[in-house]
């Protein structure tokens, strides 16, 4: 048997071909067209885009929350979006962190974290409580566990959104502008934890997590994300590593680097 026959290509975590992204508010408006992009398992991508350029729409389409206007894409080998109950287990391998957390307002922070576990898993109440405690400790949310989202500041709600997305041990995590509006302390914490998750964290059983985050400023991500893409004026540019970013003459990239 030849050596080449034993080499297997990993199934891409996300693969988009000719994808068009519509606006959530007005489906007739296209926010990104002809997106061709492959995210391999274990990669850490940051997608830079100015404000109001469709970052959230793009990420929600990638997360299967919105249907694409055109084209096709797959998640870990299966076509997206997934709405069928029969493929829900596969769909839950993808976690999503919204800008601002978007927690359920009628539940406390701890109840928000427990919600996906109570809904999808067959864990006992004690096991769910133990998992929630673990997530609260990881995200330093213990003091806010019994407060409703309205009584927690945005920075901590954002962390609660992360904790909730990690509850079901995803393999791919999409984060919508996770650093927006954070002070330096919170920003350092986020970048540190995302690095650990990317390498493999005990909270996920040591498995490296594939990460895709959006940002309107690429500078904080330089020593953390391994790959960079850019969304500007409905065009999706796959730049590659940071050397490619530095070599890029695209004005949009310069703008996102604040140069």
């Amino acid at each position: 048997m030849s050596a080449s026959a034993t080499i297997t290509t990993p199934t891409p975590a996300l693969e988009m071909r000719g994808l068009a992204v519509a606006s959530m508010k007005n489906p007739n408006i296209t926010m990104a067209a002809d997106v061709n992009w492959t995210v391999n398992p274990g990669e850490f991508w940051v997608v830079g885009a100015p404000q109001n350029s469709g970052k959230s729409d793009f990420l929600m389409t990638a997360g299967g929350i919105m249907s694409p206007a055109a084209g096709e894409f797959s998640f870990l080998g299966q076509p997206m979006p997934i709405f069928e109950e029969s493929r829900m287990a596969h769909r839950l391998k993808l976690g999503f962190v919204f800008d601002g957390g978007q927690l359920v307002g009628s539940l406390t922070v701890a109840e928000n974290l427990a919600l996906p576990l109570r809904y999808h898993s067959r864990l006992s109440a004690d096991d769910i409580e133990a998992r929630v405690t673990e997530l609260l400790e990881l995200t330093e949310l213990m003091p806010w566990a019994n407060r409703t989202p309205a009584n927690v500041t945005r920075s901590w709600r954002q962390r609660a959104g992360l904790a909730r997305a990690l509850a079901l041990t995803p393999e791919v995590l999409l984060l919508d502008s996770p650093l927006t509006g954070l002070d330096l302390r919170h920003m350092v914490w986020w970048l540190g934890l995302l690095d650990e998750l990317s390498r493999g964290h005990r909270i996920l059983g040591g498995q490296p997590l594939t990460l895709v985050a959006t940002a309107d400023d690429l500078r904080p991500w330089r020593k953390h994300a391994s790959h960079v893409a850019c969304l500007h004026k409905r065009q999706f540019l796959v730049l590659g590593d940071w050397d490619a970013v530095d070599d890029s003459s695209e004005p949009a990239v310069k703008e996102l680097l604040q140069e």
Binding site: M60, R91, L92, F96, F98, Q102, R118, Y119, H120, L168
Partner: protein
């Protein structure tokens, strides 16, 4: 001067134009009504489908939500319904006694009139309207806010069907709540009715009064009462949830959505009540 007079004479729209204006207006209203009916009907079918398909899904999450909704649309409204029962009994008996004493028949028809007015008509309809005012409006505001704050998308991202989480408990809770509250309202009204008759010196014994009630009730009253109250609960929950949840809302649009939901719920309940009157008359 002559020119001004000519302009003034020309100012009112011609008769044909005015007629066109009104037919257009009615046409637009009818068209809007049909669109709303289509939207609410589709939402009702989706909800019914989710109720059946996900009957045994995530019971540990949905059951407490149903219990909370039953409490909200039922148990917590009990004090208000006690007051409503006293008032309704007074209202119906007061008017009936004043009318029937003129023909000397007050003690012969009180029970029959109570069944006719309270059991068949006012009891279910008044309950539906009070629950709509107290809980239905809150549904639109809560769900509209949840929609505006992106909670629907966050549930979808977690693989949780928003209809299963937000709508199904409200539909079941409101159907059970309106059914139970109607029973309490009717029992309270029948009891308070006798009390008011006693206060007004109507010479009727409790046994005679309750014999009249039992004589006026048929088995169909019980069946149609149950169907009607559950249908009212279903309609109010569906219409209010539809206006709160089914379309993306901005925070400033919630008040208008609430007004629309109340108007449509009232129309739908009255229309359904009319259908039940036909059922009573034909069976």
């Amino acid at each position: 001067m002559q020119e001004a007079e000519t302009t003034m004479l020309a100012a009112p729209p011609p008769r044909a134009g005015l007629g066109r204006f009104y037919t257009d207006l009615i046409g637009r209203r009818v068209f809007k009504f049909l669109i709303a009916l289509h939207g609410v009907g589709a939402f009702a079918l989706i909800t019914f489908g989710v109720m059946l398909r996900k009957f045994s899904v995530a019971r540990s999450v949905v059951r407490p939500l149903i219990a909370r909704e039953i409490s909200r649309a039922g148990v917590k409204l009990m004090p208000m319904f006690l007051f409503a029962a006293l008032a309704l009994g007074f209202l119906v008996i007061g008017q009936t006694v004043s009318l029937l004493t003129r023909v000397g028949a007050a003690n012969n028809y009180l029970g029959s009139i109570m069944v006719l007015v309270v059991v068949r008509e006012l009891g279910p309809l008044l309950t539906a309207f009070l629950v709509l005012a107290r809980v239905g409006t809150a549904n639109v505001v809560e769900l509209g806010t949840a929609r505006a704050m992106g909670e629907v998308e966050s549930l979808e991202a977690l693989g949780i069907d928003p209809v299963h989480y937000f709508v199904v408990p409200r539909v079941i809770g409101m159907a059970v709540g309106i059914f139970a509250l109607t029973i309490y309202l009717i029992l309270g009204t029948l009891g308070s009715g006798y009390l008011w008759a006693f206060v007004q010196d109507v010479p009727i014994q409790p046994g005679d009064y309750f014999n009249q009630l039992a004589g006026a009730l048929t088995y169909m009253d019980f069946i149609l009462l149950a169907l009607k109250t559950v249908a009212f609960g279903f309609i109010i929950a569906i219409v209010t949830c539809y206006h709160g949840l089914a379309q993306p809302l901005q925070l400033d649009q919630i008040s208008r959505a609430t007004v629309r939901a109340v108007g449509q719920s009232v129309i739908a309940c009255v229309a359904l009540d009319a259908l039940f009157i036909i059922a009573y008359l034909t069976i």
